[in-house]
């Protein structure tokens, strides 16, 4: 996979390695390819319940691998309308398909302006480059 494919152009990113995909007033959230690679084999995902309200200053869940725990931060505020229940039985989807089947939550946005605070794919790539060095 090229660096471009690793960080799709249609997504926005948080410095904490979550991505956001906007679909009208809904935002889908997952973790980046870099994050899943760093974590290695995901064994467990802890997600909030549908109906919970999340905000960027508070962690909303965690992903665990065998040796590490990764706290999850939401890119935008809003109400959770769906969580990826497939992950309960198949957490490896996060490693295998971080941008599709491995999505985490869907949020009904309150304030679309928050998307402006996120990193573009280019900015995120630069961040990763920094972290790798």
């Amino acid at each position: 996979m090229s660096e471009e494919q690793k960080y799709p152009e249609d997504l926005k990113y948080r410095e904490t390695h979550e991505w956001a995909r906007r679909e009208s007033d809904i935002v889908i959230v997952g973790i980046s390819d870099y994050a899943q690679e760093e974590l290695q084999d995901v064994v467990y995902v802890e997600l909030p319940e549908v109906g919970a309200v999340v905000e960027p200053e508070k962690e909303f869940g965690a992903i665990e691998s065998v040796k590490a725990a990764f706290n999850l931060w939401t890119p935008v505020s809003g109400e959770i309308i769906e969580v990826n229940e497939e992950l309960e039985d198949a957490p490896e989807l996060i490693n295998e398909y971080p941008y599709s089947l491995g999505w985490l939550i869907k949020i009904r946005m309150i304030n679309p302006d928050e998307l402006e605070n996120l990193l573009s794919p280019n900015e995120y790539r630069a961040l990763i480059k920094g972290e790798r060095e």
Partner: protein, 978 residues
């Protein structure tokens, strides 16, 4: 040394009598390298003398410039005499006090081959699972035993004692609840008093309100509560049916915690069947001596849905790379070493050795044997009750198992107690008209007669105890099913311990071989050095260990009257005085039974100090990012908020950052937790300044004593400004690690904090304004304190200092040996380390695709346990050789690492495949290297015999690399069906 703490004779006299002293010197037995070897090592490090080396490592302004006042070293022979004298002042009465502690018969095959066997007691926690399959299997048996007996599907292995297990359960109820639940936790007043006391200590900093009362009429709800704790059977012996209560707790959205007696569960309906969400308890009476309070293993079982919130270590089933059944520690991401302040608990070292003993007891007796033991204890209790009734007492009018609360009616309790004393019998005193009697496995019919004679107050029994047995029918003895004392609905119907392992090893020969089979799978100090950084895997000398199983130390009940424990009191006082001299602190509490408990107790002491200063709002705890994970986890439990302090590139505390944070939090600063020497293995030059800055901003300094082995005799924590420190007696002071416990973590405090030291509800101990009980027993794990006592007594001041110096020499020698081959991190300005060194393996990931884990597993092929892996720095190894390892062993270990470096170089050079090589496929099992097909590009010989010594003595890893992911994705924590 005991009577003569100060040397009196002058130099001439000493010279003259020197030749008459015993020739055998324990210091030379404890310390590995001979004097000439130390000199050779110094030469390699580049120093002419030990003195110069130490001067360049330990900062001048914290050095202790005098000898410790501990007297001369004693020989092993001398120390036995002294200890026997002390032990003889403990009086072992027949004890029927109960309250969670019972006499138990340790099967001799278990005593000699586990408790007294270095093949079982010298290992560390089984993190390197491939060479720990033996104790992992024993611990899986423990979990299976707990799961079966409690009727709950998830169990850990294990917790520190019953009371802290109850507190852990309360903590889990809090973690499992929705944020809006009222922080209210109900505790039945018929729980053991020490458990109620520990819960009170734990509840307060977490903002939990305890409601203590009678479960039968307690009002729960309507607001949601966290949960409720009941004792089963109750502390006074009553077997309640908690089915309705469980419903009421659940109706109030709470979780039901049941503290259940493990032996009674063979006869009683298990908690999981009447609605318990969590069951906890002691496994002491499964073959572990009472030991004046400990150590023993507590158990913790719960429902599937709470498995990720469970505290403590859980053994899980997985597979190795060859598809073989293999075990490992599962779900480690719950634990403090990964989750830090978000961990499920601060628990770290637990009670592995004692959990192994309890599981072996169950293996040896099997389900039928355990049931027979329980039935016999119950029958004896029935007989006792009949006798008491004939004597005019009332007892056991409610269902009971092994404990009776006896109403004395008009009998004067003083008369009764003096009759008991005359027969050397202890029982529990509730109040002046009620006493409690708990029978156990060791009780004989003769004991029952003696008890009845005590209650007859000198009058003749007008009946034979044997006659009482035939009470229901003239010829047939009482049978359990005839007994009215366990009502039918509460009798156990479900089967337990049906697995093959509990139904096979019932002859001593079979048992011995099973124990040996498991032992052979584990690498212990009997095989080779275990150079785990921060763990101090030094010698656990046989002379230190022998007294542990002397009956005068092992058979005392923790709540026996103090006048029967005079020997223990002498031993505690001396040990406290010595630890006080070693640390500089005037106040010591021996109660915390693990390092994590010491941290917690120390922080609570600081918290209470602030409260008494009218500064109770101070709740910020500064912790360097390099700290061990227990530090933040303990701080959170003590009600503090963790603020992380940065470390600089040398692993030292970033002073500018510390200044900024202390300034920012000056109004709320409670404490700073500092590990010294640092977790990176260096003596920070600025430690005095660090302590001063914290003090200037109103905080207290807590020193984590994990690295005390670099300090004893050279520097004292109190002298450079810390206020509290804990010691790990299982590191610096020779208590064995037991494969993951026991541990002892006493705290040492400055004068202004002495009044806050831990107390106990049953035995008077601790400060006048103490923080409450930290552990179930007043002196924690008392029976292993003779180990540290013996170590200090045999080493003396000079020996202890010498041990520290040689530990430093050994670490620097290993660093120097490895330096040409590996990058050694965090050497001080002079290129030296303290008592451990860190080698950097991160670059091999890029150059050869080799991870630190690959190197750890490859070391197994060489017959070594890996050093501490990826801590405190990811991708590195931290090596702590300790003073007990000889130069030859250090050379062998370095040679193994250097040889592995060569193997990595071959991959780097491209002469060896990056994915099929000796590192990636390590460890190599015997089966693997002897199979007919051999598809690898390297030889079988290179795989299994990579160094000359492996041809002489080969430790075969019993399994190949374990699949970590499989085990965590599908948690199985009981023996799988055959």
């Amino acid at each position: 040394m005991i009577d003569e703490m100060t040397p009196t004779s002058n130099a001439d006299e000493r010279q003259a009598t020197r030749h008459l002293h015993f020739t055998d010197n324990f210091v030379d037995r404890h310390i590995g390298p001979r004097e000439e070897e130390v000199n050779l090592m110094l030469e390699k490090i580049g120093y002419a003398s030990l003195h110069n080396l130490i001067e360049d490592i330990v900062p001048a302004d914290i050095r202790l410039n005098r000898s410790l006042n501990l007297g001369k070293s004693q020989t092993e022979y001398e120390i036995f005499e002294a200890l026997r004298k002390i032990a003889s002042q403990n009086e072992v009465y027949r004890c029927f006090i109960g309250m969670g502690y019972h006499n138990s018969i340790t099967p001799p095959v278990i005593q000699r081959n586990i408790l007294e066997n270095p093949g079982w007691y010298t290992q560390y926690t089984p993190y390197q699972a491939e060479i720990a399959q033996g104790r992992l299997e024993a611990l899986l048996n423990f979990q299976t035993m707990v799961i079966d007996l409690t009727g709950l599907p998830i169990a850990n292995a294990s917790l520190l004692d019953e009371s802290t297990a109850a507190a852990e359960a309360m903590g889990m109820c809090l973690a499992a609840q929705k944020a809006n639940a009222r922080r209210l936790f109900f505790v039945s007043e018929t729980c053991h008093p020490q458990t109620i006391s520990v819960l009170q200590t734990r509840a307060d900093p977490l903002g939990i309100e305890l409601l203590i009362g009678d479960h039968r009429d307690a009002t729960l709800g309507p607001a949601p509560i966290l949960g409720a704790l009941v004792q089963y059977p109750a502390s006074d012996g009553v077997v309640y049916d908690y089915t309705d209560f469980a419903q009421r707790v659940h109706d109030a959205n709470g979780l039901l915690v049941v503290a259940a007696d493990v032996l009674s569960l063979t006869l009683l309906m298990p908690p999981g069947e009447f609605g318990a969400d969590i069951a906890i308890g002691s496994t002491q009476r499964f073959g572990v001596p009472m030991g004046y309070g400990g150590p023993y293993a507590a158990y913790f079982a719960t429902k599937e849905e709470f498995k990720r919130k469970t505290p403590g270590r859980i053994v899980g089933v997985s597979e190795d790379s060859e598809g073989r059944f293999a075990l490992r520690l599962a779900l480690q991401t719950r634990e403090q070493h990964i989750r830090r302040e978000k961990a499920t608990s601060n628990i770290c070292t637990a009670q592995v050795l004692l959990a192994v003993m309890a599981s072996m007891y169950a293996v040896y007796h099997g389900p039928k044997g355990l049931r027979r033991i329980a039935e016999r204890v119950h029958l004896l209790t029935c007989v006792l009750r009949e006798g008491l009734k004939r004597l005019g007492y009332s007892a056991g009018d409610t269902p009971y198992f092994d404990t009776l609360r006896v109403n004395l009616n008009s009998v004067n309790i003083k008369d009764l107690l003096s009759a008991a004393r005359a027969k050397q019998i202890n029982f529990r005193v509730f109040d002046c008209t009620h006493v409690g009697i708990s029978l156990d496995e060791a009780t004989s019919l003769r004991d029952v007669r003696n008890l009845l004679e005590v209650f007859a107050l000198g009058k003749n029994l007008r009946f034979e105890v044997e006659d009482l047995i035939g009470i229901h029918s003239t010829n047939v003895p009482i049978k359990l099913q005839d007994s009215q004392h366990i009502p039918k609905p509460l009798q156990r119907k479900s089967s337990y311990l049906t697995h093959r392992v509990f139904n096979t090893y019932h002859s001593e020969t079979e048992m011995l071989r099973y124990i040996q089979k498991l032992q052979e799978k584990d690498l212990s100090l009997t095989t080779s050095m275990i150079p785990l950084g921060s763990c101090t895997m030094k010698l656990n000398a046989t002379a230190e260990m022998l007294p542990v199983t002397w009956p005068e130390f092992s058979d005392l009940h923790p709540f026996a009257p103090l006048e029967q424990a005079k020997g223990y009191q002498i031993l505690f006082k001396q040990l406290e005085a010595w630890l006080s001299e070693i640390t500089g602190f005037p106040g010591i509490s021996l109660q915390p039974n693990a390092g994590s408990q010491g941290e917690y107790a120390g922080l609570l002491v600081i918290r209470k100090y602030h409260q008494r200063q009218g500064e109770g709002h101070r709740d910020i705890c500064l912790i360097p990012q390099s700290a061990h994970g227990t530090n933040p986890a303990s701080a959170v439990m003590a009600g503090m908020q963790v603020v992380v302090i940065r470390c600089d590139d040398d692993g030292n505390i970033d002073l500018a950052n510390l200044r900024a944070k202390t300034e920012e939090h000056r109004r709320n600063l409670a404490a700073a937790m500092i590990t010294y020497p640092s977790t990176h293995g260096g003596f920070e030059e600025q430690i005095r300044e660090i302590c001063d800055i914290v003090h200037q901003h109103g905080g207290q300094v807590y020193m984590d004593g994990a690295n005390m082995n670099a300090m004893v005799g050279l520097s004292r924590p109190k002298d450079f400004g810390s206020d509290v420190c804990h010691l790990n007696l299982h590191k610096t002071f020779c208590i064995p690690h037991g494969g993951g416990g026991p541990g002892v973590g006493p705290i040492c405090v400055k004068a202004h904090l002495v009044r806050f030291l831990p107390t106990h509800p049953v035995v008077t101990v601790g400060g006048e304004d103490g923080i409450g009980a930290i552990s179930a027993a007043p002196w924690g794990s008392a029976s292993i304190l003779p180990i540290s006592w013996a170590y200090i007594a045999m080493m003396g001041a000079q020996g202890l200092k010498r041990a520290t110096e040689v530990a430093i020499v050994n670490a620097n020698y290993v660093a120097k040996s490895l330096e040409p081959h590996f990058s050694v991190l965090y050497k001080g300005e002079k290129g030296l380390v303290a008592h451990e060194c860190i080698i950097d393996l991160r670059s091999f990931k890029k150059t050869a695709g080799v991870s630190v884990s690959d190197v750890a597993k490859r070391l197994m092929d060489y017959g070594f346990h890996a050093p501490t892996v990826s801590w405190p720095v990811p991708g590195t190894m931290m090596i702590e050789p300790t003073e007990s390892e000889s130069k030859a062993e250090l050379d062998r270990f370095s040679a193994a690492l250097i040889s592995i470096r060569q193997e990595i170089a071959e991959i780097e050079a491209g002469t060896v495949d990056r994915s099929d090589n000796v590192l990636k496929n390590a460890p190599h099992t015997a089966k693997h290297v002897t199979q007919t097909e051999w598809a690898h590009k390297y030889s079988r010989e290179k795989a299994a015999f990579p160094a000359p010594w492996t041809c002489e003595r080969k430790f075969w890893p019993p399994v190949a690399r374990i699949n970590e992911v499989l085990g965590d994705r599908n948690l199985i924590c009981a023996c799988p069906p055959m």
